[in-house]
């Protein structure tokens, strides 16, 4: 091994084991300044928008709520809004009722599990109710985002108004302090001048 390290020109097969790095590293140089001899590195590729393929699976950059599979059990008002609390409470009661029905069917006719229409219907109803509840939760997200934004903006406005008021109060306090102590300042200045004159007179006399 030491002989091979010492005699590198005689072992060309070791140098060829490791391929050279890809040549585009030369595009990124530390002293690039846009001139012809030292061109700037290429820009990164633009962000993908719309449809794209990733590991053989087609996907899209658009954020879309997946549609509800199965029956829609909640009501959408004519202006597009949904009474989330009311609808969720109604679905919750229906879930409890479906659960009781499913259990009663299992108790009375347990052997007809897969074939009995009532059992299948009970299971289907329960799963439809649960799917609708999750869909309503997903539909609440944009509303939640808007309410959070409104709350944040309101808090910011309050904070700025409070800070402006505090600054006004402090400036008023400073004004009061300056004007209130003007008389004291004049008296103190007169006392200082008198002390200085007495000192000079004492020095001149002695």
């Amino acid at each position: 091994m030491a002989q091979q390290h010492g005699a590198q020109p005689q072992a060309p097969q070791q140098q060829q084991l490791y391929p050279p790095p890809p040549p585009f590293y030369r595009l990124y140089r530390a002293d690039a300044d846009g001139s012809a001899e030292r061109p700037l590195p290429p820009l990164p590729p633009p962000a993908v928008t719309g449809e794209y393929q990733q590991f053989g699976i087609a996907d899209s950059t658009e954020v879309v709520l997946p549609p509800l599979t199965g029956r829609q059990l909640y009501e959408v008002k004519p202006d597009g809004s949904i009474d989330f609390k009311g609808e969720l409470l109604a679905l919750h009661r229906e879930l409890a009722a479906n659960l009781v029905e499913l259990l009663s069917v299992l108790v009375e006719k347990p052997s007809l599990w897969a074939r009995q229409a009532r059992v299948a219907a009970a299971v289907e109803n329960t799963s439809a109710v649960l799917r609708n509840m999750q869909q309503l939760c997903n539909l609440m997200r944009p509303v939640q985002a808007r309410h959070t934004l409104l709350h944040t903006l309101g808090a910011e406005v309050e904070e700025r108004r409070r800070a402006a008021q505090e600054l006004r109060d402090r400036v008023a306090q400073a004004d009061a302090a300056l004007s209130g102590s003007a008389e004291q300042l004049a008296a103190a200045a007169a006392a200082l001048r008198q002390a200085a004159e007495e000192g000079m007179a004492a020095n001149g006399g002695s």
């Binding site: 879930l95 299992l106 402090r170």
Partner: protein
């Protein structure tokens, strides 16, 4: 175990997911472990009991009830979300405008306060200089006493 979500909608979704899991796990366990019942009144062959099915059933029932109550409690905490999207957007635009006005007002107050601070610092400097100039030196007083005596 991940920390519980802070916001109501995520908590609600997590509670519904937990309820879902409880439903299919417990119903499956019930079907698997329910003791055999006679169909036409014949004698039962006693199955080996590895654990107390009744206690397990009661535990599952209480868990399920707690899960249902959790979901109902979270739904009751939801605020009344009245107001359409257009109204909320208009509210946000109005708040943005108020925010800009408040920001301008704050900037003006800041300029005035900075000017007042500079004024105060000047006054303080004048006072300090005057006090330093007119204060009799401490060593001079001792010399005056020596020359007098």
């Amino acid at each position: 175990m991940t920390a519980p979500p802070v916001d109501l909608v995520s908590s609600l979704q997590e509670a519904i997911g937990r309820l879902n899991a409880m439903l299919f796990n417990y119903l499956g366990a019930l079907q698997r472990d329910a003791p055999p019942q006679p169909v036409k009144g014949e004698a039962l062959v006693a199955a080996p009991k590895t654990y107390d099915v009744l206690a397990q059933t009661e535990l599952m029932a209480s868990d399920l009830m707690a899960g249902l109550k959790d979901v109902e409690g979270l739904i009751q905490q939801l605020p009344e979300l009245s107001g359409s999207e257009a109204e909320e957007v208009a509210q946000a635009v109005a708040l943005l405008q108020q925010n800009a006005e408040a920001s301008q007002e704050l900037q003006q107050e800041l300029v005035a306060a900075s000017a007042k601070l500079a004024q105060l610092q000047d006054a303080h400097g004048v006072l300090a200089e005057a006090a330093l100039r007119h204060r009799p030196p401490a060593g001079g007083t001792a010399e005056q006493q020596k020359t007098k005596s």
